[in-house]
Amino acid sequence: MLSGLTVSERQLSLVVLGLLAVCGLAMIGAGRNDDALGTHGFIVLGVSLGLTFLVISRYFDPEPSQERLSEYYDDPTRAGIILAMVWAVIGMFVGVWVAALLAWPDLTFDAAWASFGRLRPVHTNGVIFGFGGNALIATSLHVLQRTSRARLPDQFSPWFVLIGYNLFCIIAASGYLMGLTQSKEYAEPEWYADIWLVIVWVVYFLIYIRTLQRRKEPHIYVANWYYMAFILVVAVLHIVNNLALPVSLGHAKSYSVFSGVQDAMVQWWYGHNAVAFFLTAGFLGMLYYYLPKRAERPIFSYRLSIISFWGITFMYMWAGSHHLHYTALPQWVQTLGMTFSVVLLVPSWASAGNALATLNGAWHRVRDDATLRFMMVAAVFYGISTFEGSFMAIRAVNSLSHYTDWTVGHVHAGALGWVAMITFGSFYALVPWMWKQGRMYSPKLVEVHFWFALAGTVIYVFAMWNSGIIQGLMWRTYNDSGTLAYSFIDSLVAMHPYYIARTVGGLFFLIGAVVGAYNIAMTIRMARAAKVREEAGTDVPLPRPVATAMQAGE
């Protein structure tokens, strides 16, 4: 990793790490009266000192040769893949744990940190930001270079983004365990973590812009539209929703500048667009590169891509208020949320359809190749969950589905079926390219993973659909006396078997992810052991000789 940095970049790293260490010290100092802030100060200090030590120990290594500029810079992508898989296993393990907690509440072992309210955000942030975010960073840097035919602008900033981002994730997750939260779903981290993420994110955006500026292709490929939308919009959402005033600079706790129904609206404008631009746009970027690549088919329709892209980006922005139907939010806002959500179905399905139609002429590959099958199933689940989402956004439907497990089922049709499946599919395509291997360590294990993942998703989603609808109906059934027929406890008793089923489904999915992590680890070992620099095949800058097309310092 470090031998790739030039001497001036190594110096820059030391400066940045020094500044980070100072921040860590300041947090420790300021956090004298606040355990959480102090603990986070120690984490920041520890990470920066550890990395400083690493940089110093390799400081006098030979500089990378000028030849590097004629190659893509893939080290951060490789690290990102590994980090994503680590977070996948952690996040999904905690997912299975919280699932089990709902069936057997005693599994907290009387420890505060293990209570449902603290573990749940560790799960959601672990899988979305830890697993999903690292996967997005890793693949976006890969796709960006290949489709622009340009190397990343420098070696320092991608590492800054990747490591900085993971530091944010660690601060977030450890904060939840200490009981720290802003109480905004998917925006739980406190103010100092939020500020740090803004810095990291700006650098990420700049990498994108600077690379695109130097592209050798006349046009910008669709995948990059989506990745760009993801980075840009997430920045806007993150900044607005996290506007808050800390109790004092010496306290981890802060209060949102919004209050009441405005707060709710801003939160769900953020929350829904986190689904739209983090969990959808980013992963559509992934789909648009790895699916045609693996299927070796051209994209079905360029025009459809345009319609879907602008449809999705425009329409999603309005949809957030469908999370607040039948609340104090003025009804006209709910109307807009609902109607735009309904129209949104069309560009969403157009994307899914575009992906599936791209497979025309490659269905035999889908049958034989589990990697491509992951991507195909992902597109199908993308279609299912966007249909379901638009349906649930209709007020009358929402009055049944809201606050029930149906929502959780819907989330996981998207999260497991779409987000995780497209990621695994892309990784299985990408890992052999990145580690210069002809194939994964074990294609059989990819097949095993596929079936575990599919079975787990189906069990999970069906369990939650059933439990959600039963729950919703029980909550609105009246008896002859005109009072509620069931108590809340009655509905909990009815949920119990489904919660057990969901735990089993989640366990299947987790086992699949562990198998995948093992397979990827073994592929890396295979690459290390063989030490053969196999010819990279099609995965080199095509087709003009890049060495001349790129200049030093680019």
Binding site: F300, S301, Y302, L304, I307, Y326, Q331, W349, S487, L542
Partner: protein, 291 residues
Amino acid sequence: MELGERDPVTGRHTTGHEWNGIEELETPVPRVVLFFLAATTLFAIGYWILMPAWPLGVSYTKGLLGFDQREVVTRQVRDAAFARAAWTDRIARASFEEIAADPTLMRHVREAGRTLFADNCAVCHGVKGTGGPGFPNLAAGAWLWGGDPATIAETIRIGINSTHEGTRVSQMMAFGRDGVLTGQQVLNVGAYVRSLSGQSLSEAERGRLAAGKEVFAANCVVCHGDNGKGKHDVGAPDLTDQFWIYGGDVQSVHTTIYGGRQGYMPHWQDRLSPVETKLLTLYVLTLGDRQ
């Protein structure tokens, strides 16, 4: 647009662009996409015309249907209350005895009381009202404050050791911790208390009975009564029956006498209507029936 090669599978041209091997076809947007785009947009526009939809500065377009979610829910709540009034009014007017004697009203009590109890009281008293460690069994008929309906209704209204100004106060002092009794005396009276309910005692306990009886007579009878049968006016439980709030084993009894107990039962005056309180009172009284 300049076209690229023809794709052999679909027979379509590519757009002529290529990114690291990826190409795109020139396929026009399928009709069905355009159709649904138009259909959903029309639906949206129709909905906007009928319903509250677009902001106009300080106001908004009200929609032709004049629909207002606040009015709708207010009306629905009012209608539902009106429909229930057929029997709730009778509950409000009738005395406990009259209601208990009326099978139709008691059917409503059982039906509505079950969910009301499960949603408000079961967290502490259990779904069947049988209690658990720290929470009394309401189905046992072993009342702390008395089992007549008016007393129970009052307990529900004001709570026990609650924040209500008229709350019932339940005080079992910390005889051991506060030094009123010596360690040995606590052990002695504990053995005596356990003997009251006819539990089998160990050899050592039996040896303490006589001394324990004296301690009990000197310290406990004011509240628990001469024979240990409890007193309703101070909420002191009957120690001779088989029903325990905190447990009748050696350790629990010792903990009670050593450290004292102050059970907490919230007051419901601000949360339940008088009719609901009445209903719950009657429902609580039926809990014993199923034992």
